[in-house]
C-alpha cells in the first residue's frame, strides 16, 4: 500500500519513534508535504517495549510482577467488565464473517457489514476504555479536590483515548 502522509513527529507510541515509519509498508512512500507540528519533543524511551517483549517470553509460572505494577500483563481470563456501562458493543464471540477466499471487492454488502463486529473493540479487549477518563482538566481538579484523591494523568502526543 502506498503511504498516505504520515506524521513526521514521533507521536503515538510510548517507546517507538515513528519518524514516518509507524508500520512497515510494502511499497515506498511519497514525501510528506504537510508541515509537522513544531517544537514537539520526542517521546522518552522508557524500556516499555523491552518489558512487553520480555513478558511475551515469560513462562506462565512467573509471578514476579507486583499486583498493581504499571506493567502490561496479558489477560488470560475471560473478560470481566469493571464498568459494564462503558463496555463497547455486544458481547458474542467474534467469528469470521466472510467465509470464502475471494477478493474483498466481490463480497456482498451483508458479508462486509458482518466484519463490523470483527473490527470493533470486543468487551474486555480494551481495559483502558473501561476507566471513566475525564478530559477536562478543571473538572478533574475539582473532582480530585472534592474526593481527596490524586489525579492520574495519562498524557500523550496523540489522543490517548482516541487516535494514538
Amino acid at each position: 500500500m502506498q503511504k498516505a502522509i504520515r506524521p513526521i513527529v514521533a507521536a503515538c507510541c510510548l517507546a517507538v519513534s515513528i519518524g514516518g515509519a509507524g508500520c512497515s509498508r510494502t511499497t515506498p512512500s511519497e514525501p510528506a508535504v504537510v508541515e509537522a507540528p513544531k517544537k514537539v519533543k520526542q517521546p522518552e524511551r522508557t524500556g516499555l517495549a523491552a518489558a512487553i517483549e520480555a513478558l511475551e517470553r515469560e513462562s506462565a509460572d512467573d509471578k514476579a510482577a507486583p499486583s498493581v505494577a504499571i506493567e502490561p500483563v496479558p489477560q488470560a481470563a475471560a473478560p470481566m467488565a469493571l464498568n459494564p456501562k462503558a463496555v463497547e458493543g455486544p458481547s458474542p464471540a467474534v467469528t469470521p464473517a466472510v467465509a470464502a477466499v475471494r477478493s474483498p471487492s466481490v463480497y456482498t454488502a451483508d458479508e462486509l457489514l458482518g466484519l463490523h463486529e470483527v473490527i470493533r473493540p470486543r468487551p474486555g479487549e480494551a481495559l483502558w476504555a473501561e476507566i471513566p477518563w475525564i478530559t477536562d482538566l478543571w473538572e478533574a481538579r475539582k473532582k480530585a479536590a472534592a474526593e481527596g484523591k490524586p489525579i492520574f494523568v495519562w498524557s500523550a502526543m496523540a489522543d490517548p483515548i482516541g487516535c494514538t
Binding site: 457489514l113 479487549e125 478530559t135 478533574a140 481527596g148 492520574f152 483515548i161
Partner: protein
Amino acid sequence: MESRALFFNRDVCATIMKTCIPFARNHLIKSSYPGDMAFLDNLAAQGAYFGNNMFLCTAGGKLVAGHQDRNLNGWLANWSKLPMSDRQPGVASIEDRGARVPQVRDPQPPADGMFVRTFMRALDRNSQGQFVAPDKLSLGISKTVIKAEPNRDGLWLTADDWKSLVLADPKVGDVHQVPAAIRQRIFRFHLVDGACCLPGFWQPKQVQGGSIQMTVTEVTPADVSMKIDGWAKLGAKDAPTEFTLAGAAGYDRASNKFNRFDVVALSATPCHKDTASGRPMYLGIAFQLARPNVPLDIRTPFRIWYDDYGQRDYLGN
C-alpha cells in the same frame, strides 16, 4: 497504541478507578482556558513530562510521582506521605480558570454535528480465507507485540453535512450520492492505515476515484432505512489501494437524527505487513455512531489535531 498496554492489567485499572481521578489529555491540543495552561506549566516546571507519560499530581498542582518506577503502589505511597492539606477531601480550593480564549489548537466539535466513531484494525486471513482479528498486534518498527485492539478516531460531520444525507421525500429504491465533501473527508482522512500507529492522511491528488451512495431500503412513518455502498481508489495511479465500503444507516424522523451509521471499509489488498510475523495484513475500518450521552465517544479527528491547518483541511472551512 503502546501506552495502552499499560492497562492490560485489570488490577491496575481497578486501582486507578478506586483511588485516583483518571484524566487523559492529548498534548497536541491546548486548553483555551488560561488557568488550565498555567496548571500544566506549573507541573512541567516541577519536571512533569507530557509527551507520552503517566503520573500522579494533586488537585492543587503538586507533582507526586512519575512513570519512571512504573509501580502504582509506589506512586500511591508517595501520595499518602503528602500533608493532609493536599489530600483531605474538600480542603484544596481550585481557583477559577479564567475566561475562555479560543485557541487554534483547541478545536471544538461542530454545533449540532453528527459524530461517528471509527475503528481501524489489521485483519489477517485464516487458512479458509476468512478475515480474522488476530489476538496480538505488533507495533510499527519496534516490533513490540501487544494484545490486539483497534485504533480509534472520530469522523465529524457538520449539521449541513449530515442534513445533506437526508432525502426530503424518501421512497424505497431512491439512490442518493454522498456529497463530494463528505466523500473526500472519509476517503482522505478515514480510509487510512492507523491500525498500528497514527495513520497519516491522503492528499487530494491521491484520491484516484471512488463513490459512496445511499439507497433507501425501507420507509416507515418513524424511520428511514438505507444501505450504503461504495468504493475508493487511493494512492499512486500505478499502485492504488482499493477499498470496498458497505453499510447501513437509519434516520429517525421524529428526532430528525441519524440513529444508525454502521459502515465497513475493507482494503482489497494487504496494507502492511505485521512487523513481528511478516504476515500481510488487510485493513478493516468500522464506522459507528457515537453513543448518545457518552461524551468520550466524540473524539477530535486525527487530521484536525495533527497541525494548525487540520481543521480547514478536514472541514473545508
